[in-house]
Symmetry: C2
Subunit: 448 residues, 2 copies
């Protein structure tokens, strides 16, 4: 599959440059929706629009919905107005809201006013919820069951209304006031005796209010391993459902962001190979500058110790080794604690416990590395220098593990994404601290 | 919810130390399955076993299945034999196979021989598939439909056989030879007209063979946003299904591993706060040692240039700044490309394109940082030194971005997990290269 997709990309580029639209349509008809998406992602914006127009209508909708949001925005720019209006009408309300966020306000208004009444009634309330809330990502189309509905009647309701719903796998249960009493799964309904009432097997489903952060709601959906979370207003009246598909997508975007931040850059939100070099530079250069400016701290620390350095130039040889080891220890601790925070194993109030653990972990590793450093540097250079290196490794590992472990918790406590206090930041901080420790110990032991 | 869980943990510790079993049972009965799991994860092994015995049978099974594998192994050790045998009989076959992998061979054999014939028949073939393959993680319990079954008959089959199946949301379609012709979802069946035959709306479902890597199969399941992937033998005969729940779990473990490796440590496979300090040390110390030994390279590089250093000690002041910036640039590139590899945006054959992009990105950022470095170092020290710093920043950023971008692809090409060539590795490599560049440029410009 992988091979033939690559060949198809090459072939589609040839067909595009030959303007062979029939050949392209032929090529597209052989591909699954998912493969068409992959193909489009790898083309540049103009070719993407040409190809998109050739996809048959049913597939086009699915492909459009699975493209990264910025690519969708570009596509809307490149398509003819009537094509866009028709596409917009067919989108699911949650995809529609996501698309509107990508578009200039004037285009968004025009598209909204072109919607049919029914679809506008579904979409408009969602736009009232704050950005980043689950209210904008839920689907208002679901199949509601009453508690006194029987399993057989429930199946009939699914058959009648299910085609338009975002999911039929989770069915919110609510009486006529719409107050949610829980939900049942289609599996529950299908395996129940036909005469049993839904109220008799309704389960206490996880619900969220529409203003909840979308990422929190998505995590809940995946944690409870349910096909959808019911979204309600503050009085527990059902507004819609967040499906597991959307939840997975929300978390994937969040992970992109975390992965990027952990490496000291901003997320791309579009496929790497179709991202312009300028955008790549912008996604990284700010962090790189901030880090480089912080690193000026290390120059200043070293300036303080310039006399010590002049006296024993050999000390300079170990600077990258010592700062590197500190940075590595710090990033190990930070990665572990950030991950533990993300999956909920650790909370900010555990700061004391985390600190105590990381100090012990750091000191253990520092003792081992320090002993090694003492022996090796002692044998190669002299035992005094060995002692300086050994003692510095012990101190640096302990401090770095403690700082690396505690930083993500501090970030979280002050409301900053822990991934922002990323590995590179901790490295820079540990570099400066490590240098102070190193030269202080060196001055003392070598008596400079 | 978060708060009360913390209070409950404190209360359960008090009750445990008071041996108040009735109080504990009372406390547990108030909690959802998911909260019980969280509570157990935060206790130590002995308390966990005491509490686990008090959970009612239905909840206990679900809690057991959602614990991290090493905790399950410990629990089996701590429980009475008849309790374990009963629990083992009730587990789903895939959870059973996962548990067996955690246990000593003798215990595994005893448990297997205690199984009922029916369950042993389901479990034994799965144990024949290689470790890490989807054959060990699939569920052999599914509802199969024939192509000529009607929608109404399909619903009846689900009602009859669905309770024991791992999922009723995806129903493999196969004739009596068991050769898979695709699958339908329960939603398709429930929204179809009762008289329509399954063969008329069967969809070309993603299938995998049982020997496929479990992570590959799990990614396919999530990529196709399906509730289950059908697992077949090499002749496309249906063997079982990999449910999205299991797929999510497999990918979560894989992410744990990637996140840990990216920070230079091994994954813990259990909650951070219940991991002994010794285990934390072991998960990190090997990588830290390997990195420290690699960093000895930087000492050797600096030794070569010791005369240059003695002549101009000021050069030493910039070592951490320059190596740090190189390391940061490299890790930005590596993170972006590793992520792009993981989500399939980039493949190993794209090496040339990645290299070309990263060289341009690195050179752009290096030009900017270099210009800044030139001006600042020129003003503060002198213009010759400014030129050295500026030129080094340009060279180091370009090299680091290229190395950082290409390393994950090389790792993948030789069959190594790209996350293993982690940020710390790239930093160390860039440190050594950066120092060579720095002192070569310094020697030339300062004419030492």
């Amino acid at each position: 599959m992988t091979d033939s997709l690559d060949e198809r990309i090459t072939r589609s580029r040839t067909l595009l440059s030959d303007h062979d639209l029939a050949g392209l349509a032929d090529l597209l008809s052989d591909l699954r929706e998912h493969e068409v998406t992959r193909l489009l992602e790898r083309l540049d914006a103009d070719d993407r629009a040409v190809l998109f127009r050739l996809i048959e209508k049913d597939t086009a909708l699915g492909v459009f919905e699975s493209l990264d949001p910025p690519l969708r925005g570009e596509l809307v720019d490149a398509l003819r107005d009537d094509h866009v209006v028709a596409l917009f009408e067919d989108l699911d309300p949650d995809d529609r809201v996501e698309l509107l966020d990508e578009l200039p306000a004037s285009v968004a208004r025009r598209l909204l006013s072109g919607l049919s009444d029914g679809e506008r009634t579904l979409t408009a309330p969602m736009l009232g919820y704050p950005r980043g809330s689950v209210g904008r990502r839920m689907s208002p189309e679901y199949v509601r069951l009453r508690p006194d509905t029987t399993a057989a009647e429930a199946l009939a309701a699914v058959r009648r209304d299910g085609r338009d719903a975002a999911t039929v796998h989770v069915l919110p249960v609510a009486d006529d006031t719409l107050v949610c009493t829980g939900s049942v799964t289609l599996g529950d309904v299908a395996t129940a005796e036909p005469g049993v009432r839904v109220g008799d097997f309704v389960a206490d489903a996880p619900t969220v209010t529409a203003t909840t952060d979308a990422e929190v709601a998505a995590r809940l959906c995946l944690e409870y391993r349910t096909a959808a979370v019911v979204v309600t207003d503050s009085e527990r009246r059902v507004l819609g459902v967040l499906t597991v598909d959307t939840a997975a997508r929300i978390l994937e975007d969040a992970e992109d962001e975390d992965a990027a931040r952990a490496g000291g850059s901003e997320p791309l939100r579009r496929p790497y190979l179709s991202t312009p070099v300028g955008t790549l530079v912008r996604s990284r250069v700010v962090w790189l500058l901030v880090l480089a400016v912080s690193a000026v701290l290390t120059v200043q620390v070293l300036e303080i110790f310039e006399d010590t350095l002049s006296a024993v130039v050999t000390l300079a040889l170990f600077i990258p080794l010592l700062t590197g080891t500190g940075g590595n220890t710090g990033s190990q601790a930070a990665t572990t604690v950030t991950r533990a925070l993300a999956v909920g194993d650790v909370r900010t109030r555990d700061l004391g416990r985390v600190l105590f653990r990381e100090v012990r972990v750091g000191a253990s590793m520092g003792a081992l590395l320090g002993a090694l450093g003492f022996v090796v540097a002692g044998l190669v250079y002299d035992w005094h220098l060995g002692l300086v290196i050994g003692a510095t490794l012990l101190a640096v590992c302990t401090i770095a593990a403690a700082v690396g472990g505690v930083m993500p918790l501090c970030a979280k406590a002050i409301g900053v994404d822990p991934a922002v206090f990323s590995t590179p930041f901790i490295s820079t901080f540990c570099d400066a601290t490590g240098l102070i420790v190193y030269f202080t110990i060196a001055s003392a032991i070598l008596d400079i």
